[in-house]
């Protein structure tokens, strides 16, 4: 089992003012390392509209590289515009994952649209930054990864990586919409695709991680990290019903692989769980692992899937 030392909540969206688009939530942290700071991208929301519905934006916060608990700045604007009328990302750009590419920065993000029979659908878009990662421009107005025979809806949660010159996109794909007390709730599983250019993708078309809680377990945030000769995946998972509370809500799981395609799940090794009290006492989710100056950090969300921000934990020892 890994040992993580919780460092506490790092960023609370309520601590920011003057940004009406950043009122609540700091979800799905994703890092990009700079000389003096660690940029953590996250997704946030303005206040809900008159029907109680949210749109979501993505933004960033820069943490002091020598003291990651210190916030240096918060982006003045969202990093991406919402899509135009009828486009796949008209109602949200969440989450986002970034990678350095061709002296620039590229972002993969999930775009949200609203549907009639189910609340939403999601597909994955791509955008490039020409200003070092402060803002991004979509390469096209449509998705770079969308629905297919085995992945019929809800392609979300992209995590972009490059291993041995192959682009790897880890993401989730919807399996079914399950009616829970008359309300459609999505069941999704962790999937991946590979590419030689980051734009034309070949889907692996199978689940990477077995389900443990139940057949309809929902899995998210497949965060893959290479260390010590193998690949490590931290992810989160929950029950399909009544998951908005502690008992059936998100926990962080773990799997390992030697080839990126075949994964062995062993949640007992994850080494991080809900706290006895505080901002992460009910659920923990959306793990993201990154290395800074010899220290391995895990950024994650607490109660209500990041409504109150994200925190950091520090690995004691190494990933095996």
């Amino acid at each position: 089992m890994y040992k993580w030392e919780k460092l506490g909540k790092v960023f609370d969206p309520k601590s920011v003012s003057g940004r009406p688009w950043l009122q609540e939530f700091a979800q799905a942290p994703a890092s990009l390392l700079f000389d003096d700071f660690i940029r953590i991208y996250f997704s946030c929301r303005p206040a809900a509209d008159e029907n109680g519905q949210y749109v979501s934006y993505s933004a960033f916060v820069d943490l002091d590289r020598s003291d990651p608990l210190k916030v240096m700045r918060v982006s003045d604007e969202p990093i991406l515009k919402l899509g135009a009328l009828g486009e796949f990302d008209e109602f949200g750009t969440y989450p986002v994952s970034v990678i350095r590419h061709d002296n620039g920065v590229r972002a993969y993000y999930a775009g949200w649209t609203r549907c009639e029979s189910v609340p939403f659908n999601v597909a994955i878009g791509v955008a490039d930054s020409n200003d070092g990662g402060a803002s991004f421009v979509k390469i096209g107005t449509g998705p770079v990864l969308s629905y297919s025979q085995d992945e019929p809806f809800v392609l979300s949660g992209p995590k972009i990586r490059r291993f041995n010159d192959i682009w790897c996109l880890f993401y989730i794909a919807g399996r079914k919409w399950k009616l829970v007390n008359g309300r459609p709730e999505p069941v999704y599983k962790i999937r991946m695709a590979t590419s030689t250019d980051g734009l034309a993708w070949t889907k692996l078309n199978r689940d990477l991680v077995s389900s443990r809680l139940e057949e309809d377990e929902a899995q998210a945030s497949p965060d893959v990290f290479y260390s010590n000769g193998s690949y490590h995946m931290f992810f989160c998972y929950r029950y399909s019903s009544n998951f908005r509370g502690k008992e059936f809500g998100y926990r962080i799981g773990y799997a390992t692989s030697t080839n990126l395609f075949d994964w062995h799940r062993d949640d007992s090794k994850a080494g991080i769980d809900v706290s006895g009290s505080g901002w992460d006492e009910e659920m923990i989710s959306y793990p993201h692992v990154f290395d800074v100056d010899g220290v391995t950090y895990l950024a994650y969300l607490g109660n209500q899937v990041g409504r109150h921000g994200f925190g950091l934990a520090k690995l004691l020892g190494n990933l095996g």
Binding site: L85, G86, T113, C115, V118, N121, V126, G142, E151, P152
Partner: protein, 318 residues
């Protein structure tokens, strides 16, 4: 190239169709058997939840005179998709073909949106009973929106030429409110993709293969392709993107283009004409053409007024 009007050959309002459908026989598409021609079409059920339509696939079997009705589908040909799927609210159109001894079909699935009315994508279905019923080969589409084809991929028409699957289809270029009072309207254009197996497709991403005649706001739909002598001919329908339901002269008409190589198309609507007096059913609109050969005759099925509410008719190449 002159086509002769043979009149309306099927009126859905005269029959009981499966799934409580009683109007609309849209986008007729033919599958030729030894003794008869099966014409698939999409018909509509009223969704009791909200009064909107659900499109269902049905068929009519006709003798090769294309007059005598032998049989009408009496049960569901293809059930609608599951909750949240791309084809949950309708399948329209369906493009059947024979491949390796089986009947397969490409569908256009509809699902409703909130800010705009609908999104579509193309599915693949397989029949194990010679086209009476179809099953999905997966819950999702085989072709959907992509970076430069941002919405409304649909209307696939597939033919295998020299061992290569060719698909002509439409993709949306975007939605727009033409006036502050009007609901969002869509614009779509004809595209092309190829495949070696009919399942995995390579789009010519975002290439509009047919030149606009009405300008950027022209919507082009339902391409259908046939070889006539040495050239390939594409028929399709086109209209203005705004005020196309009631606006005089703004609704669907049939267009035409010609190609020697299946890649470069020269549009020439004037080369195509339907001779004969229009009927009451096709006086204002002609849309959703489908060309096929039957016993040496080159035939075109098409819809008339109100997008096929009152059925479909036939024309024959002279």
């Amino acid at each position: 190239m002159e086509w002769r009007r043979l009149g309306r050959i099927f009126d859905p309002t005269k029959y009981c169709l499966p799934n409580k459908c009683h109007e609309f026989a849209q986008s007729p598409q033919a599958l030729v058997f030894d003794d008869y021609v099966r014409v698939y079409f999409s018909t509509r059920e009223r969704d009791l939840k909200n009064g909107k339509f659900l499109s269902h696939v049905a068929f009519v079997d006709m003798a090769k005179d294309m007059r005598t009705i032998l049989r009408i589908a009496d049960k569901t040909v293809l059930p609608l998709g599951e909750l949240g799927s791309f084809d949950e609210h309708g399948v329209f159109p369906i493009n059947p073909l024979r491949h390796e001894g089986r009947v397969i079909a490409y569908t256009c699935g509809w699902s409703r949106r909130v800010s705009v009315s609908v999104e579509t994508a193309i599915g693949l279905v397989i029949s194990n009973d010679n086209g009476l019923t179809f099953q999905r080969s997966g819950a999702g589409p085989i072709m959907a929106a992509s970076m430069f084809e941002p919405c409304l991929v649909g209307d696939g028409f597939v033919r295998v030429v020299d061992g290569v699957f060719h698909m002509w289809y439409i993709f949306g270029t975007g939605w727009r409110r033409f006036t502050t009072q009007s609901a969002p309207d869509r614009t779509y254009k004809i595209g092309h993709a190829t495949s070696v197996d009919g399942v995995n497709w390579n789009k010519e991403e975002g290439r509009k293969v047919i030149a606009d005649r009405l300008g950027e706001q022209e919507s082009q739909a339902l391409p259908t392709v046939m070889q006539i002598s040495s050239a390939f001919h594409m028929f399709f329908c086109f209209r203005e993107s705004f005020d196309f339901r009631a606006g005089k002269g703004r609704g669907y008409r049939i267009g035409h283009a010609r190609s020697e190589d299946l890649s470069n198309w020269v549009r020439d609507d004037d080369e195509f004409s339907i001779l004969g007096a229009p009927g009451e059913w096709d006086s204002d609109m002609q849309c959703y053409p489908h060309v096929f050969e039957c016993d040496g005759r080159k035939l075109m099925l098409y819809n008339g007024n109100e997008f096929g509410r009152f059925g479909f008719g036939l024309a024959e190449l002279k």
